[in-house]
Symmetry: C2
Subunit: 348 residues, 2 copies
């Protein structure tokens, strides 16, 4: 990639996805990143028009970009699960986004439901595995719709898949001031999968003596996100636990409107994809009510991933400044207005 010219695939998706992505691109431009964007109309409309969700042809085309920016997919008119699985999860799996990177950070000035929490208490990164576990879609049903029905769902975990994400997490932890990494799992119940995760964590950890390690069951970790978020620095966990934990994280760090994420392929064998953690929120779509901040922070992660660290930092700083100002001179702003304000800060 020419670091001055990002070839970016944009998937606005459905609902508020379209609105927030527009603001993300506005900020990308404001920061001076030269991007050549191509928009893909994947999502509910395309599904209804053609019956297609994500064809292999489109998927292959997407491989040609430096990165993907996604808004949100999902619409009540589409049977639940279809767009999630055949678009969102298919992208994550097929582009081998084995690291689902989700910072949980309370910016100064942001209101948190936790009465006593200060910004320095909530500053962690969840490294969620993105291509395995219960998300593999393995399972089956037998004797459907009879009293003898059985339905199974299988978590598939490989040494290959666990080791690479654990190693990524150790690398992340090593480069943070606290150098602490917590494995979250449920080893006392999920003994087979848990044992693979624990053994891998311990083994890889020996290569990182400078990183302080810790283990926490997912139920306790979920509690500590609320009662003692300061326990955590970097967390590594499986796909499903990461899904749950990062929503609790979003809740305590000021809400889903601020939670950014990266679906990262660290080996760069395919483009990484950046998206807000929130969904398409059809109930408020098209009304200018959506907060584009999560998408703008996802753009910062995208810039960072592409080596544009200075630009990334500027975007994050602009968001931080905007969030601080919301505290004092708060007036309700539209999606556009928030995007304009942050873009102005970035440019100025």
């Amino acid at each position: 990639m020419d670091s001055r010219n990002i070839r970016l695939a944009v998937i606005p998706g459905d609902g508020i996805g379209v609105e927030v992505v527009a603001e993300g691109l506005k900020v990308l431009q404001a920061v001076g990143a030269k991007a050549e964007t191509t928009t893909y109309d994947l999502g509910a409309k395309r599904y209804h028009a053609t019956g297609e969700v994500l064809t292999d042809v489109v998927l292959d085309e997407l491989r040609g970009y430096d990165a993907i920016l996604l808004g949100a997919v999902g619409d009540p008119s589409v049977p639940p699960g279809i767009l999630e699985r055949d678009l969102l999860l298919k992208l994550r799996f097929r582009l081998d986004h084995y690291v689902n990177l989700r910072p949980v950070k309370l910016f100064p000035g942001v209101e948190t439901p936790l009465g006593g929490a200060r910004p320095e208490d909530i500053d962690m990164i969840v490294v969620r595995e993105g291509t395995e576990g219960l998300y593999a879609g393995a399972g089956g049903v037998m004797r459907r719709d009879t009293p003898q029905e059985i339905a199974t769902q299988e978590s598939l975990n490989t040494a290959f898949g666990v080791e690479r994400v654990v190693r990524y997490a150790f690398d992340k932890a090593r480069n943070r001031p606290r150098r602490k990494l917590t494995l979250v799992h449920k080893t006392n119940v999920l003994t087979y999968a848990g044992d693979l995760w624990s053994r891998t964590f311990d083994r890889v950890g020996q290569e990182y003596p400078e990183v302080q390690t810790d283990y926490c069951h997912v139920d306790a970790a979920s509690m500590f996100f609320v009662t003692q978020p300061e326990r955590f620095d970097v967390i590594v966990t499986d796909n499903l636990f990461g899904d749950i934990l990062t929503d609790i994280g979003a809740a305590v760090a000021g809400g889903i409107g601020l939670a950014a994420s990266g679906n990262v392929n660290p080996d760069r064998t395919a483009p990484s994809m950046f998206e807000p953690v929130h969904g398409s929120a059809p109930d408020i779509a098209g009304q200018g009510k959506a907060d584009p901040t999560a998408t703008i922070l996802s753009v910062a992660m995208l810039l960072d991933h592409l080596g544009l660290a200075e630009e990334a930092a500027r975007v994050e700083q602009a968001v931080a400044d905007d969030l601080l100002e919301r505290q004092t001179g708060w007036t309700a702003r539209t999606t556009h207005e928030i995007g304009d304000d942050i873009a102005a800060r970035v440019a100025g």
Copy 2:
């Protein structure tokens, strides 16, 4: 059972389990419930002395009681998982405790980490399935300790198992003022298991037109426990999701020191078991620091289960009064002192 004479098996277990159970029994006596108790020394000590955790002989003996009161099991000297699986989960499975009943209730006067929450906002019951799902222990490992290792973990769900717990939850919801029942799952990813749960929920729900139903993905529900707990009245969910949600519930409702639970066999083919949600907390064991409130509330659930509704209400009221007083005239009390105070209220 002679409703005036409870045959009670007591398993204090390890660590603070021993201390909190003593207070639970004190309150049981104070409320005037005639109980014949037999103590079982199951747990770490027995394991070390005999290598046994829970033999079939003991298990059969336990079947003869009206109910079981358990403190907590687990000790650092025992490899993790052994006591949990071979004692705690074995009891739940073999005694067919298919309803794991966990109230999440913010008592007036209790401090919650959620700045803005009032007691009327946090008042729900989680009906967690107790005998299936990922807790079945199904799974395996192949090519252990090689780069080709695979570990699987399987969630087993049966129409039989799902229907009975869903039905129980509808019955519960029907008898509460709000009459609202929320199914929590992850149907968009766990499609096989999720589909069985959804279909069962919809089908059984038709028999309960007076109950308002709702569905929520587990990640969103975890967030809403923090941001909008008032959304929930009764929740029904699978074993693992219930485990996670009820720890978040404990966190928002004032901490794990107050969270009670019942492992209920509604068909009464075996005794039900009541226990605090917290663990054995070896770090504070033997110091009189443990809060016995969760155990005392579990005793209230036990009384209620045995048809002693009036006694149950008195215990709960005594706890509520004690909690209210903690707010104002707070002085640190020992485990014994808290037990004494609540027992005195119950008796008075």
